[in-house]
Symmetry: C2
Subunit: 240 residues, 2 copies
């Protein structure tokens, strides 16, 4: 079974300035790939904290995804932390630099500042996944995929990495019911006990008349998921 | 300095079915209270994992907030995990039960099922913060605040807890500039070095013409924040 963890690096999320969007994007793509996302950790822009989490997560999960901290400013510390965590010195990456310089030709007023050059100073050795239409490298060190915090870039670069992420897809059926959680709980519990390899989740909706509860049935065995779903559909007078 | 951590309990977030909204709500309220949110962890509905994280976070931060898992169904495991983590046996809480029963009078077709009663089986002893207009208890065990996953309830119950959360407020100034990160990085770095107690963050905007970068200046010393902001405003030709 392939598992994954996400490390969201960002003072801006912890201090409430910016709402993290990348966790949801990652969770959806990993579900599609059949990789189980097991943990998400949000931490500040602090190198010792990042190093510590990178090492822990990298040793425990099949894939680790970081978000944030790869820009040109002083608060971008992720490459340095990856470098320290896995003892891969920061070196100027020629191909990344030449793509950066090429990209700069779209902005005639920009010059190759030392700050911009930092974005091509990568933990070495590393693999790189290139995203069509973007100069920015997706750096891969071992099982760690280093992604940017900007949601549009995160999304397209993660899409470029999709084929590298191999899991066993799950089947999911969602049942909607007008009954309340307190009235369907006993039935759900009985079905859950019967189908131990299927994950049954119950999610009440508040302030919306269209349904009371959404019940999700997930698992890798299609037949079991279908059987459990049919049982729940009957017991909750639900619909799909 | 008061610090905090959040423990978001939910298979539904990790599998991409539901987008977490509570982290952002919590981050904003804690910033207003002057409490530093240092870590957010998202984990599955798994009791040993919840117990382990509860103990770790509770020992490391001033306040811990959990989100999710306090409903009546089999996948609601947070009270049981809190009970195990802090050796507080689950007992029927008379006041919570009577409020639950009173609330049920609004729904004449509902009966007091064993499942519903579970929502009044609380880690004991505990403190409770009651939210105006809601029967649901906000259970507090030591420094752990147990909140529901449903965003509307999370928000109003957290608001009810606000006066219990005591910190030292920060000052924040945000500067917007039409210059790009690569061109302002050197100046920001110099200002950051000069004002070590101020946190300067740089957040590029993509696909929006209104500005290129938002620079945030935060700290507990108002004068330092103002001085650093003025320096950055000049260096980036920025505006507030």
């Amino acid at each position: 079974m392939s598992t994954a963890a996400a490390l969201i690096i960002g003072d801006e999320i912890l201090s409430g300035k910016i709402r993290d969007q990348n966790t949801h994007t990652l969770a959806q793509l990993l579900f599609e790939q059949g990789v189980d996302l097991m943990r998400v950790v949000v931490i500040p822009d602090d190198i010792p904290t990042i190093v510590d989490e990178l090492r822990k997560l990298s040793s425990q999960y099949t894939y680790v995804f970081t978000s944030g901290g790869i820009g040109p400013t002083h608060d971008d510390k992720t490459y340095e932390a990856v470098s320290k965590a896995f003892e891969r010195p920061l070196k100027l990456h020629e191909q990344a630099l030449s793509r950066l310089v090429e990209n700069m030709q779209n902005y005639p007023d920009r010059t190759l500042t030392e700050a911009r050059k930092r974005m091509a100073l990568l933990p070495t050795p590393c693999e790189i996944i290139w995203t069509p239409g973007l100069w920015v490298p997706l750096v891969v060190v071992g099982n760690v995929f280093v992604l940017p915090g900007i949601p549009a870039y995160f999304t397209s670069m993660l899409e470029a990495a999709r084929s590298h992420l191999v899991g066993t897809p799950k089947h999911r059926i969602q049942i909607y019911t007008h009954m309340s959680e307190g009235d369907i709980a006993e039935g759900l519990d009985a079905t859950q006990t019967k189908y131990a390899d299927v994950a049954i989740g119950s999610y009440p909706r508040v302030n919306d008349g269209s349904y009371m509860v959404m019940v999700s049935i997930e698992g890798r065995d299609r037949v079991q998921v279908q059987q459990a779903a049919e049982e729940i559909e009957r017991a909750t007078k639900g619909y799909r």
